[in-house]
Structure formats: C-alpha cells, structure tokens
C-alpha cells in the first residue's frame, strides 16, 4: 500500500526500465495463456461444452467443442499477454488485461464443462449469473461501508462485525415485530451500533483503528453468539423466525434473456445494493459532501483550514457506513436464512479485500465484489459437476488476488492518504 514506508526496497514498484507494470502483467498472462492452451487443451474432452442461457439444460445455448475451446481461448489469452509484453500504448492495458483474463477463465470453463460427466456437461449461465450477484451482495454492502469510512480517513476492519450485528438485529427484531421493515431498520441500527463504537473510540479516544476493528469483530461475534444461545436457540419460533422479503419482478426488464432472470427478479437488497453503488459514486465524486469527504480522507488539516468540520464529518460517515453494512447483514436474515452463530463467516474480510481490490471506489468495489462472487459461485458449480479442482483453492482466489493487487503485481492500489490516522485539531 503505502510504498513510501520503505525506501530501501530492492524492487520499487515504479514503472521504470524494461519491466514496466504492463510488461510484468503481460508476461504473467502469456504464461497463463500457454498453460491454458496446453494443459486445459490436453485435459478437455471432445464433447461439446454447452453454456445454456437458462436455468436448465434445455433452451438456447452457446456450444463449442471442449478441446477446441480450451485451446482457442488459451491462445487468445496468450496473445493478449504477448501484446502487452511487446509493448502497447497505455490505454490498451486495461482492455487487453481484462480480455486476456476472461479468455483464460473461458478456456478453463471449456475444459471443466466438457470433462464433466454425461448429463451434467452444461453450464446454466442464468444460475451462475444470479448466484454471482447473490453471493456478491453482502460484499457490495460491506465494501460500500468500507468506502464511506475509509474515504474519510477511518480504517474499517470491523465490516465483519457490522454485517454480523446487522444480520442479528434484523433477525431478532424482525421476528419479534413480525415486520420485515422493522427488521430492516433494526438491522441498519445494529450495524450502526458497531460503527458508532468504532467512531467514538477511533475519533474521540484515538485508539488505533485497526486494533479497534479487530476487537469490535470479536465483540460482535461474542454478543450475537451469546444472545443467540440465550434467546434464539431456546425459542427459535419467537426470536429467530423473521419474515422475509419476497422477490420483486420488474415488468419488461425481467424478460430480457440472461440478464432479466438474474438481475430483475431479485429482492429489495439486490436493487438497494446496486442503487447504493450508484448513489455513493455520484455523491462521492459529484457533490459537496463527496469533495469534503475525500479531502478529509486525504488531507484533514487542509480541509480543516478551509472550514470543514473534520471530526463531525468522520463521525457522520462512519455511522452511515454502519447503516449500510447493517442492511447488508440483513440481506442474509431477512431474505435467505435464519440467523446462526458467526453466519457472516469471513465475508466482511472479503468485502475489505473487495474494497482494496476496487481501489477504494464504489464502482471498483462493485466489480471486485462481483469477481469474488463469481469465484464463489464457480466453486459451487464445480462441486456440483464433480470437478477435480478442489473448491478450497477457488475459495482462496479472492484473498490471493488481493495479495497480488496490494503487492503491486496486478495494478497499483493506493489508500486515501490520511486513512487510519486520527486527526487532532491543533
């Protein structure tokens, strides 16, 4: 992250000399492409790899011969890598890298789908797309909570705790009141409770923000686990049977092939999550509040000099982050499952990874969350077709990708300059 920390590094991540960032990425991509063409091509079978545009085997489908597809897409990935290695104008970098990675994934899928046992050698794209969004949803809310906090200079490692507390209070108060809306409000307040603690201790008492985040995560696990055992486990009917939001189908849009069933037949959380990405993006880059937030996150002293109330803005943003994350937690308990102990299970940390991978921007976080959601969904799918790839390694993907991103191998990420630094007016 902060490359300023260690000047006497052996390899600085500066784009100098022959091995620029584009060339490094190109070399890696070339290697991956060759690997895909040779290895995946050899392992794929001659069966057709079918990608159906529905939820089942039938209906319209894209088909390609397994071996041909694996080799073809591998060669495309390698070609994109070679182009990067040869040196292309900078504006092509993102496009080529993206195309190369997508081709690599397609090559992999051609192998996997064609090698699947008879009767299961198809991939229902609608299911995969819908699953991707469902799995990405808590990550989107969590990463947005991170954006709100960290853009104003408060490190939010407590996303996990905020999601968990939101899920818990949504389930508890939703069950007691019997109303989804009460549950939703309670979930937002639950998330905000954790972030309020973070704000008070980080801003008022100057406790290290990472330390506080870790401790708050444990506190949330403890409180929700304790109350779960005392209340929900003993009387689930009364305390843990929250009503659930039904799916809302949007007329016309729901009939678009592929996208319609996946995107426009979802529940309120899906629409809310996507809307929030848009709103926060616009607010952050187009409004006065956004300019102030960013300036407080980058250089609070300068912002203070110009009359921005630094601490008040930080309090407000951190609490808003808690509200958002709390709603994200409710996307579990008010739509999918009943509450169980520690049900977030590390999603908060993947959300943190998505925030970093998405370079602290709402749209970047959305794309990163979708990528991680896709990896998650792919693991489920490969398990269902009896793949030889262990699902655990796919589950590692988000974390490994983040390590690579932070190390500057995929692209430079830079946090807001004042992130994690308490501001003392003086």
């Amino acid at each position: 992250m902060s490359t300023t920390a260690v000047p006497d590094v052996a390899v600085t991540a500066v784009d100098e000399g022959f091995w620029t960032r584009a060339r490094k990425a190109g070399a890696v991509l070339l290697g991956l492409g060759v690997l895909a063409a040779v290895l995946f091509g050899a392992l794929a079978t001659d069966q057709q790899a079918r990608f159906t545009l529905s939820e089942t085997e039938g209906g319209a489908a894209l088909e390609i011969n397994g071996t041909v597809g694996a080799i073809l897409f591998g060669v495309i990935a390698a070609a994109a890598g070679a182009a990067l290695l040869a040196g292309v104008p900078k504006r092509w970098f993102t496009l080529l890298l993206g195309a190369g990675l997508v081709a690599f994934v397609l090559s992999f899928l051609c192998w996997q789908v064609s090698a699947a046992p008879e009767g299961r050698n198809f991939m229902p794209l609608v299911n995969v797309l819908r699953g991707t969004f469902v799995l990405a949803l808590p990550l989107i809310f969590g990463a947005l909570a991170g954006v709100l906090c960290e853009r104003s200079g408060v490190v939010n490692v407590a996303i996990e705790g905020q999601l968990l507390m939101g899920a818990f209070s949504g389930a508890l108060f939703g069950s007691i009141s019997g109303s989804v809306w009460v549950g939703l409000v309670a979930a937002a307040i639950g998330g905000a409770f954790i972030s309020l603690l973070l704000a008070v201790f980080a801003i008022r008492y100057l406790v290290d923000q990472v330390v506080m985040g870790i401790v708050l995560n444990l506190l949330a696990v403890g409180i929700t686990g304790f109350l779960y055992e005392r209340l929900m486990a003993t009387d689930a009917a009364k305390y843990n049977s929250a009503p659930r939001f039904s799916n809302w189908e949007i007329p016309l849009l729901k009939d678009i092939p592929l996208i319609g069933p996946a995107l426009f037949r979802g529940n309120i959380f899906l629409y809310l999550g996507l809307l929030l990405v848009l709103v926060i993006h616009l607010a952050l880059f187009r409004t006065r509040w956004g300019l102030r937030t960013r300036s407080v996150g980058e250089h609070p002293t300068a912002a203070d000099t110009l009359g921005v109330k630094v601490l008040r803005l930080r309090y407000r943003n951190v609490i808003m982050a808690g509200l958002v994350a709390g709603v994200g937690g409710a996307s579990y308990t008010l739509a999918l499952y009943s509450f169980t102990k520690n049900m977030i299970g590390g999603k908060g940390f993947i959300a943190l990874a998505a925030l970093i991978f998405g370079r602290w921007s709402p749209t970047g976080a959305l794309l990163a969350a979708l990528f991680f959601g896709f990896a998650d969904q792919l693991a489920t799918y490969l398990g269902a077709i009896g793949s030889s790839i262990p699902s655990q390694f796919l589950a590692m993907l988000p974390y490994l990708a983040t390590i690579l991103a932070v190390a500057g191998l995929v692209g430079r990420v830079r946090a807001p300059a004042a992130d994690g630094k308490p501001y003392i007016k003086g």
């Binding site: 992250m1 902060s2 000047p7 990472v210 330390v211 696990v221």
Partner: protein, 452 residues
C-alpha cells in the same frame, strides 16, 4: 506516521513512553494538569512541586497510586467494567429474570434478588472453573481448574508473544491465526507421518510447526520489505488462505483418518505428544513450560540482544533506524519470521498437547485472534503477555464450567475479553468513569500500526 504523538520515543524505552502518555493524557482530558506535573505525581505528593514538603511515606505513596491511572489499576477496573457489562447481558437475556423487572416498582426486591442470583452464580462458576473449587475433594479435583487454565494459557502465550513482538517492530501481525494454522498442519503431519523415537519425534514435530508458522510470517514480511504492501492486509488474506488450505488437506488421503468419514486427520502418535505434567487425569502439559521459556527468550531478545535493539529502533522510527545504518527491510522480514515461528509453536501446542490430537477444521479455535487481545492486554511486553494469557486462559477454563453448570454460553467469555481490551485500549474512558487521577504508564500505545 500515523502516530498522533509526533515525538516517537527512543528505542531504549518501553513502548509507552512517559512523555507521550503525559501528552496524550493531557489531550484526552483537557482539565488535567500539564505533563510535567503529572509525571511528578508518581514520585511525589500530588499537585506539589517536587522540592516542597516532606517526602511522603511508602504507605501513603501506595494508597495514592492505587487510585491513580496506572497500568494495574486500569487493568483491574477494565476487568470490573467488562464483568458489569457481562452481568447486564446475562440479566437481559434471561427471560425469567427479565419478567421480574415487569413489576419492579411494586416489588423491587424480586428483580434485584433474581438478578443477583443468576449473575453471582454465573461468576462463581467462572471462578470455580478457573482457579479453585472449594467443594473439590482430592488432588485431581482440586488441581483441575488450574490445570485447565494452564492448558488454555499455553498457546495464547505463543500467539500473544507473536503479535507483541511484531508490534514492537512496528508491524501489526493480524496473521497469527494463519501462522498457527500452517504450524498446526505441519506439526500434526510430522506427528503422525514420521516414524521416530519418542523425544526426537516431539522435537521434530515442534520444529515442523515452528517452520510452518515462520513460512507464513515470511510471506507478508518479504512483501512488506520488497513492495511496501501493508502487512495488515496481507496477513488478513493469508489467514483465510491458511483456513482453506487446512480444510483441503484434512480430507486428502494419507492425512484423513481412514476410519472416519468426516473431516478429521489421523491422530498424532504418542511419541510426538507433549508430556503431561500432573498425571494422566489432568490436562496440563509441558507446553506451558515451553511458553514460559519462550517468554523469557523473547524478553531477552527484545531487551538484551542486538537484534532486539534494531527491532525496537525500527519500530519506533524506521527512518531514523535506517539513517543509523540498520537495514529496515531485513528487520521487517526477520520480525515477521520470528513472529510466525512463535505463532506456529502456538498452533503446534494445540495438536501436540492435550487439547486435541488430530486436525479438524476448528483445531486451533481462535488462538490467533485472541493473541492480538492478549498482546494488547499485556501492553506488548513479554511478561505482560504471559500474565494476560493467564487471565484469558482462566476466563476460557472458567467459561467452560459456567456453560455447563449455569447454562451461560461460552460466548460471554468472548464478550468479556473484547470488552476488557476495549477498556484497556481507551484508558481515558476508564479514567473518566472512575475519576482516576492521571499517572504514568496507563495509556496503551496502540498507534504502532501505521494506517494503510
């Protein structure tokens, strides 16, 4: 960098330097006297210049310091506060007790009695499970609680030291959990796969565990040194990579227990297990001795060795350290390797000791994350870490009894532990609640970790 106090302490001092405390205290409570007077408070009578008045007696000094915000007082009060919050949680989550509050205006005694009964019974069981049960008969029963406490303490000492050491070197090692996970995998595999004689086998298994942890610490260390990638992010990510690796390796043939269908590995051979200290009926094992040894070694390393000096210098001010000719990159890597090594030993303890003898997905529980709390509670000093681990081990052991006897679930212990550390981390809050007088060494310097 992110340190709110611009003056970083000299590396020769303990992390919580007096000058910094004085300043931060003064900032946190504007009404407090100025820094120099505060320091004088600890050595002379309050609010008096050192030169005036007779020297107070030792007893008077003690009494004055008792209610000042020193380390011990703040710690004790933090524990008390945490237990009060815990008591509230117990009461509000008990429907029967809560029912008595419905008519508290009519018969307040009912509500108070019911609350007192449920809370006092819970905490009594906590104590009996952790320290001593007056009703116990016989050696085994009497020593049982202590044995349990020490069993839970041993791995926490290692992970606590791991986090504390990294803190002193200016790094925040959130990865003790992952390092312990890799450690436990290698220790267990060495424990059941290698045919070795007793003694040698144990040694090899311990070394394997330590090396596994060291490898997992090396990765964020080298990334930090080479690319500046922040260790907090990388260690968090590596924790999860380790978790998935564990859940994968357990079900591989050669590792999975052939007689079982669930995710559990073969058991560790008895030749690789740490010997029990008080007979077969009590679980306490030699791990606690190793933990004390490790504490002594880390204390020596930090305070007496060249490496320790360099480490503290880098932790206090990397730029100054570099100017003085210390290789910051080398130190970062070395700190993370040693930290990982300690965490790996902590993980090994879980499977070579008496807690478990085979790998399961939850074999190391939370020892890595608890290690962070232990390090903070121990004020990132080795012997402090040992005491903090003892407190956490006791809470864990007592929590087990509280769960089975009072029906208060074990999560209450997690709440207590988190609350204690929150109150420790914000001594200004504890001071404000109890109206303590300012004194030295109360503020925990947690701003060692740089922001992203």
């Amino acid at each position: 960098m992110t340190n709110p106090n611009p003056a970083s302490g000299s590396p020769d001092k303990e992390p919580a330097t007096e000058a910094q405390e004085a300043r931060s205290e003064a900032r946190a409570t504007p009404t407090a006297p100025a820094g120099d007077t505060e320091r004088a408070v600890t050595t002379t009578a309050p609010k008096q210049p050192p030169a005036e008045g007779p020297r107070p007696s030792l007893g008077r000094l003690f009494l004055e310091n008792l209610w000042a915000a020193n380390t011990v007082t703040v710690t004790v009060l933090a524990v008390v506060l945490a237990m009060l919050v815990g008591a509230v949680l117990i009461i509000v989550s008990d429907p029967e007790v809560l029912a008595t509050y419905g008519y508290i205006t009519a018969r307040p005694a009912d509500a108070l009695n019911a609350s007192w009964t449920v809370v006092s019974e819970a905490y009594a069981n906590l104590f009996k499970g952790a320290v001593f049960d007056p009703d116990a008969v016989g050696f085994t029963a009497a020593m049982g609680p202590i044995s349990e406490t020490l069993t839970y303490t041993a791995p926490l000492v290692f992970t606590g030291l791991s986090v504390a050491l990294a803190f002193r070197g200016g790094l925040f090692n959130i990865g003790a959990q992952g390092q312990a996970t890799i450690g436990v995998i290698l220790a267990a595999v060495a424990g059941f796969a290698l045919p070795l004689p007793p003694g040698v086998h144990l040694l090899v298994a311990l070394i394997a565990g330590a090396l596994g942890g060291a490898l997992w610490g090396f990765i964020p260390g080298i990334l930090k040194a080479r690319t500046g990638a922040h260790e907090v992010i990388n260690t968090i990510m590596l924790n999860y990579v380790a978790v998935y690796f564990l859940s994968w390796i357990i079900v591989q043939s050669g590792v999975q227990n052939p007689t079982r269908s669930d995710a559990i590995s073969k058991p560790v051979e008895s030749s690789a297990q740490l010997p029990r200290l008080l007979g077969d009926d009590l679980r306490v094992h030699a791990g606690i001795l190793l933990a004390v040894l490790a504490t002594w070694f880390i204390a020596w390393l930090l305070n007496r060795s060249t490496l320790g000096f360099e480490l503290r210098a880098v932790g206090a001010n990397p730029d100054a350290a570099r100017t003085a000719g210390i290789s910051v990159t080398k130190t970062y890597v070395l700190v993370m390797v040693i930290a990982g090594l300690l965490a790996g030993l902590g993980g090994s303890n879980m499977v070579l000791g008496s807690t478990a003898n085979a790998l399961t997905p939850l074999v190391i529980a939370q020892i890595g994350f608890d290690g962070i709390l232990v390090a903070l509670l121990g004020r990132v000093k080795p012997w402090g870490v040992l005491l903090a681990a003892l407190l956490f081990g006791a809470l864990q052991a007592g929590g087990n009894r509280m769960q089975s006897y009072s029906g208060i679930s074990l999560e209450l212990v997690t709440v207590l532990q988190a609350l204690i550390v929150i109150f420790i981390a914000a001594p200004a809050l504890v001071k404000a609640i109890f109206q303590l007088r300012a004194a030295r060494a109360a503020r925990l310097q947690t701003s060692l970790a740089k922001g992203w």
